[in-house]
Symmetry: C2
Subunit: 410 residues, 2 copies
Amino acid sequence: MIRINENYRKLKASYLFSEISKRVDEFQAGNPDKQIIRLGIGDVTLPLPEVCLKAFHEAVDEMADEKTFKGYGPNQGYAFLREKIAEWDFRKRGADINADEIFVSDGAKCDSANLQEIFATKKLRIAVPDPVYPVYVDTNVMAGRTGPNVDGRYEGLIYLECTGDNKFIPSTPRKRADLIYLCFPNNPTGATITKRQLKKWVDYAIRHKSLIIFDAAYEAFIRNPKLPHSIYEIPGAREVAIEVRSFSKTAGFTGTRCAYTVVPTTCRAYDSEKNEVNLHSLWGRRQNTKFNGVSYPVQKAASAIYSELGQKQVKTMNDYYLRNATLILKEMTGLGFQCTGGTNAPYIWVNGNTDSWEFFNLLLKKAGVVVTPGAGFGKCGEGYIRISAFNNYESVQLAMKKIVDALRMD
Amino acid sequence: MIRINENYRKLKASYLFSEISKRVDEFQAGNPDKQIIRLGIGDVTLPLPEVCLKAFHEAVDEMADEKTFKGYGPNQGYAFLREKIAEWDFRKRGADINADEIFVSDGAKCDSANLQEIFATKKLRIAVPDPVYPVYVDTNVMAGRTGPNVDGRYEGLIYLECTGDNKFIPSTPRKRADLIYLCFPNNPTGATITKRQLKKWVDYAIRHKSLIIFDAAYEAFIRNPKLPHSIYEIPGAREVAIEVRSFSKTAGFTGTRCAYTVVPTTCRAYDSEKNEVNLHSLWGRRQNTKFNGVSYPVQKAASAIYSELGQKQVKTMNDYYLRNATLILKEMTGLGFQCTGGTNAPYIWVNGNTDSWEFFNLLLKKAGVVVTPGAGFGKCGEGYIRISAFNNYESVQLAMKKIVDALRMD
C-alpha cells in the first residue's frame, strides 16, 4: 500500500495568500465598480533592466545556432555568473567569497525550502523568527521535524519573538538552537540588522556549533552604508552560515527566476559522532542529484546586472520602490501608527493595535487597498499589517490617499 | 550542534558521469592530438526549434514593458501552457488528462527526485529497475528509505532486473512493491513497452494499492504507432500513476529547462489508517511551498511546440537523432553485438560480453569514442555499454567508422 508523508497533515490548511485572494475576490464580486489597489504580495511591477533584456535576447540567439547552442550546463551554475556574483556582491564589500562557493538556482524560495534536507531530521533544534516567512516553518514540518500545530505554533520549534520591545531584532535564545533561520532586511517587518547585532548571532553559532541560514533576498534595498548586506561581512560567518540571495527583488526577476545560495567551503556541520562534515560538498551532492541548473538565457540575463551600467539600472529600479516605501511610511506614521521598515526595505510593518484580519478587512472595504495581515506570519504578527512598496508610484499615492481618507472618516 | 543527514553517507561516492569525465580528461591530457567524439551523456546538440526561438524572443519583449511584464506566475505553470499540453500530449492520443492535472516544472530530474517527498519514509517498499536512472535510487537513499549499499545494491530496495532474458522489460515482482519507478522508452536500455505489458503494471498497482511513477522523458522518439506514449493510455492508470515528462529531449530544452508532471485528480494514496488520500492536492501543496514556477519566457517558448508547425519542427529534430540511432544500431549489430534500443529511442544498449569499464576504456583509447559503461546504471548493466544518439550525424558517422576500424583490428 502506498502511504503518504503524514507530516503534511500537520500543516495548517489555509495558505495566507490564498485566503487573501479569496477575500479580495469576494469583495470585488460584491463591489464590481470599486477599484482595488494591491499592496499585499511582494511582487515587482517594473520591467526588467535594459541590460538584462539585451543579454536575454542575445542568449536566446545563441540557442538558435548549433555552434553556440547550450545543452546541459553546470548544475552549480555557469562560471561567468558565479564569478561576477563573487566579485560584485561579496568581494567588493570585503566579504571573502569565491565563485566555487556559489550555487545558482531558480529561486530563493526553493533554496530556503531545500536546504533543510542536508540536516538531520531527528533531535535538531530549529529556531525561526516570529513573524516568519512561512517557507522556513512549513518545510521543516513536512520533513517531520516538528510536532503538531497547537494554538498557532508547531511543537518542537523555537520561536524567536520579534516585537516592538526588541525593535523586531530577535535576541539569541537561552535554549540551544542548532539550525537558525534569519532574514534581513526582514520579510515581513522590514527591520534591518546592524553588524554588531548580527555578530552576536555569528558568535552564538560558533559557541553552540549551530548553523545560520541567512536570507538576504532584500539586500538590494539597503541604502545605509553602515548596514551589512551579507552575513559574510561578519568575522567567523564563513564557518557557521549559509546565505540565500535572489535576483527576484534585486533585478525584477520574480517571473524570470534566478537566485543563488552561498555555502562557503569552510562551512561545517557534524555527524552523530561529532566529527566535522563539510557542508559545501553535501549541498553540492544534493544539487547534483536533484537539480539540473538554471536556464542558460536566464543566467545570461542575470549576469548583466554586474557592470557599472547594470548596477546603475538596478539601483534606479530599487530606488523607485524605495520612494514608494518612503511615502507609505510617511502617511501611515502621519495617521499615528507605529511603523517599522520602509527604509532600507520594501515593506512597512504597521502596528494597527487591532486584530490583523479586521484591519485588513477595513482597508479593503473602506479604501479598496489590499495589504497582508500580520497574523498570517505568526503569533507575533497579530495586530500588525504588512504594506508592500511593490507597485507603481501613482497607485501607491492613490492607495495612501484612500487609506488616509478612510481612516480620518472613521 | 548542527547535525547532518547521515543518509548521504550511504551514497556511493563517485557519480557515474564524473568518473567518465575524469577518465576522458586523463586520456585527452596524455593524447592531446587525438580527436574525441562524445556519445556518452544524453545531451542534445541541435538548436532550439524556430517556433520556440520566436516565442522566446517575444516573451522577453513582454518583460520590457510595464503593461505586459510578468512577475510571479502560477506555481503550477501558466494555463496557456498546461491547456496545450493536455490537448496535444494527452487528449489527442485518447488519454483523459486535464490542464489542472499538469504541474509545470524546471526539469524531469527535479520532479522525479522530489516526488518521493510526499510519501512515507518508513516501511515503504520501493521497486526500481536495474539498470536504472540513478536519481530514482539516490533520492530515496537520501530520504532514509534504504539500508547501506552492499555489493552494489542498497538494502531494502526491490530491484526489477532488466536483462536479455526478459528483453529489458521487467516482470511485476512477487514481493509487494508500494512505489514503483518505470521509464519507457527506457534510459539506459532504449527498450520500449507495449500497451499489454504496461497494463500488467497498472493492474498490479491497482491490485496492490501501489503507485507507479512513470518517466516518459523520451516519448518523443516513439515512431511505432502501437506503442503507448503515456501510461494514461492504459485504463485504470489515472488512479495509480504519476507521469513525468520533459521538453529536454522533445524540444532540445536541456539548457533551457522546462518539464512537467501529471498527477490526475483521481490519483490516490493512503494514510496509516488506510484511508484514501488525494495525491493531486498533496503534490500541489509540496510545489506551492517549495517551488515558484518556471521562467515565463521559457514557458512561452515551450508552448510554441503545440501547433502544427511546432510539431513538425520537433519531429524533424527528433528524426535527426533517430537517424543517428539507426546508424549506430546497424554498425554495432554488424560487428556482431547484441543490441537493444535504437528504434523508438535515442539510446543503444550494447552487450559487450565483457567488463563495462574495460569496454569503455577500449573504445576511448582505440577509437576515441566516449560511451557510458552500463555498470554505472546498476548490477544488470554490467557487460553492457550505452551509446547515445545525441550528436551531429557527421560525428556519429565518424565515431562508428572509428569503432568499426578499432574492433576489426582487434
